[in-house]
Symmetry: C2
Subunit: 314 residues, 2 copies
C-alpha cells in the first residue's frame, strides 16, 4: 500500500534533484533555501535562484501540509467529489464527511534572462483525506517569448512519450486540459504553447494509486532534462533591445495569468498561504505598454498568431 | 430634474480639462485619444500619456455605456439594492425588476517617472436604471513610493475640505472606506496612504441627486490642482538607483492590487470590457524580488510602517 509519507519524500528528493540540475545548467547561480512551517500543520522548503547566467529568477517549491479541512476547502472538495463520482460511475469511495487532509507537491517557475529561452512551469501534487480521497494532479507548460515551432514539437513530443508509457489517452486529454487552463481569457490568447495539465487523477478500476504515482514520477523526472535542453540550446542565441522589450511584455501577460486566473495562486492568496512562495512565480521585471500591436510580418506577430488553443504540435 | 446626459457631458469635459492640466504640468508629453464603441450600446474615449518628462505612463478614461442589464450585473444589483434599502430605511425607490442601465464615468491612474512623485488614482462615476436607481460612486487615493508625512497631510486635508463643504460626515466615512478598499489583503498592507472612496451614493430624504452631483463635481475638480501640486513640487527631488528599484517593487504591489482586488478591473476582465482601457492602470515597468525586506531604519522600511489602515493624517 502506497503511503503518503513515501510520496512526499519522493517529492522532496525531486525538488533537490531538479535544483542541482538547474544549478549545473546555469553554471553561476545557486539556489537559496527557505524553510517554513504552517501553523495548522506541516510546512515546506522554498528554493529560489536569482541573477544567474541563464536564469534571471526562478523558484522550486516543495511543501507537505496537513490538518483539519478548512471551510473554504470543503466547498472545493464538494465540487470535485461530485465530478469524481460522475467520472467513476459509482466507483468513488468518498462519502460526504471529510475531516482531515494531507497535501504535498513540487511547483516550479523559471524566468530565464534571455528572451530566446522559454519560461517554464511545472507542478506535481498529491492530495488525500482521512476518508479515502486520493488524488494526483499536476502538469508542465512552456511559455516561449518567441514560439519556435521545432522547439514546440520537441517539447510536446517529450510529454507525449511520457504520457504514452502509461495510457494512450493521457496525452490528448491532458494536452487539451492545458490549452483550456493556461488561457488568458481577457486577452483571448494562451499563456504559451501549453503542455499537459491534469487534476483529480484518482485510482479506479483500471489504475491503482501506485500506477498513478509512477506516472506523476515520470512527469516530475522529465522536467530537468527537458528544460536544461532549452537552457543549453537557446541561451547563446543573439538578441537585442527589441527582443528584450518583447520579453518584458510577455512577462506582463504571465503576471496577468498568474494573478487573475491561476488556481494555485488565487487559492494561496485567499487562504493566507506563504506569500513569497506563492508569488515566486512572478518575474524579476515585467512591462505593460498601452495597446501594443506588433508589426505586420514580425516574429512577435507570428508568436501571437501561435498563442491559441488546439494546435497539434506533435 | 438632473438628466443623465448632463452628467455624462460634464464627465467628458472633466476628462478634457484634466488631460490639458496634466499636459501643461508635464511640459513634454501629449495625450493620445482612442475612441471606442460598445456593441451593446455606448462607448468611450481613452486618453493615454506616455514617456513624458514627469509622467512615465498614465491614462484618463471616459465612458458612457448603456443597454439591457447583463445577467452578471443583475446579481451585483441585487446585493447593492438590498444594501441601499437598509441604508434608506424604506426610502429606496427600487423594485425587483430592472431592464436597462446607463453608466458613465472618468477613471485616472498616473505613474510618474520619478520615485519621489506619488502614483495617483481617481474615479468618478454615475449609474442609473430605467426603474429609478440612481447612484454616484468614486474616490481619489494616493500611492507614494516614499510616504512623506507632510504630503500625506496636505493630500488628506484637501480631500477633507472638499467633503466638508457638503457633509461633515463624508470625510471620516469615505476615508475609512478608502482604507478598507485599497488594501492588499495578502500583503497585509494598504496600497498607499488612501484617500476617499464612496459607492452607491444615492438620493434620500436629506440629499437630492443634484446635491450629490455637486459633490462628485467637486471631487473631480480637485484632482488636477492636487496632483499637479505633487508633480511640480516633487519631480525635481534627487534620487538614485536604490529609489528607482524601490519604485519598481512598489509598482509590483500596485499590479497585485489591481489584478487581484480592484473591483473595476475584475469586473472589466470578467465582462469582456475594452482590455487596453481597463489595464491602462498598469505601470510601464514593475518588479518582483523574492522576499525583499528593507533595511532597518531605512526610508523604505519607514514607508512600509505607514502603509496601514486607520492613520489620521489630518
Amino acid at each position: 500500500m502506497l503511503r503518503k509519507e513515501e510520496i512526499s519524500e519522493w517529492f522532496g528528493t525531486l525538488q533537490n534533484n531538479i535544483c542541482r540540475s538547474l544549478e549545473e545548467a546555469d553554471g553561476i547561480a545557486k539556489f537559496q533555501e527557505d524553510l517554513w512551517t504552517r501553523e495548522e500543520g506541516g510546512g515546506g522548503r522554498t528554493c529560489i535562484i536569482q541573477a544567474g547566467k541563464v536564469i534571471e529568477k526562478g523558484g522550486v517549491a516543495y511543501s507537505a501540509v496537513y490538518g483539519p479541512v478548512p471551510d473554504f476547502l470543503k466547498k472545493e472538495l464538494g465540487i470535485a467529489i461530485s465530478e469524481q463520482r460522475t467520472a467513476n460511475r459509482g466507483h468513488g469511495m468518498v462519502n460526504a464527511e471529510t475531516k482531515a487532509f494531507f497535501a504535498t507537491g513540487v511547483s516550479i517557475v523559471i524566468h530565464p534572462r534571455s528572451p530566446m529561452v522559454p519560461i517554464i512551469h511545472m507542478n506535481v501534487r498529491y492530495f488525500e483525506t482521512d476518508n479515502g480521497i486520493k488524488w494526483f494532479g499536476g502538469g508542465i507548460d512552456l511559455t516561449p517569448h518567441y514560439v519556435d515551432e521545432s522547439d514546440a514539437k520537441y517539447f510536446h513530443a517529450c510529454l507525449k512519450k511520457v504520457c504514452d508509457k502509461f495510457n494512450a489517452g493521457y496525452y490528448p486529454k491532458f494536452k487539451k486540459c492545458a490549452d483550456d487552463y493556461f488561457f488568458i481569457k481577457h486577452r483571448k490568447e494562451t499563456r504559451g504553447i501549453g503542455g499537459i495539465f491534469f487534476d483529480h487523477l484518482n485510482p479506479g478500476p483500471e489504475q491503482s494509486i501506485g500506477n498513478l504515482f509512477e506516472f506523476v514520477k515520470a512527469v516530475g523526472e522529465c522536467f530537468a532534462p527537458l528544460y536544461t535542453h532549452f537552457m543549453n540550446h537557446k541561451h547563446s542565441l543573439p538578441f537585442g533591445e527589441n527582443e528584450k522589450q518583447w520579453q518584458l511584455l510577455r512577462r506582463g501577460r504571465y503576471v496577468e495569468f498568474n494573478l487573475v486566473y491561476d488556481r494555485g495562486t488565487r487559492f494561496g492568496l485567499e487562504t493566507n498561504g506563504r506569500i513569497e512562495s506563492i508569488l515566486m512565480s512572478l518575474p524579476q521585471m515585467a512591462s505593460w505598454t498601452y495597446n501594443y500591436i506588433p508589426e505586420k510580418g514580425s516574429r512577435e506577430e507570428q508568436t501571437l498568431s501561435l498563442l491559441k488553443k488546439g494546435i497539434d504540435w506533435v
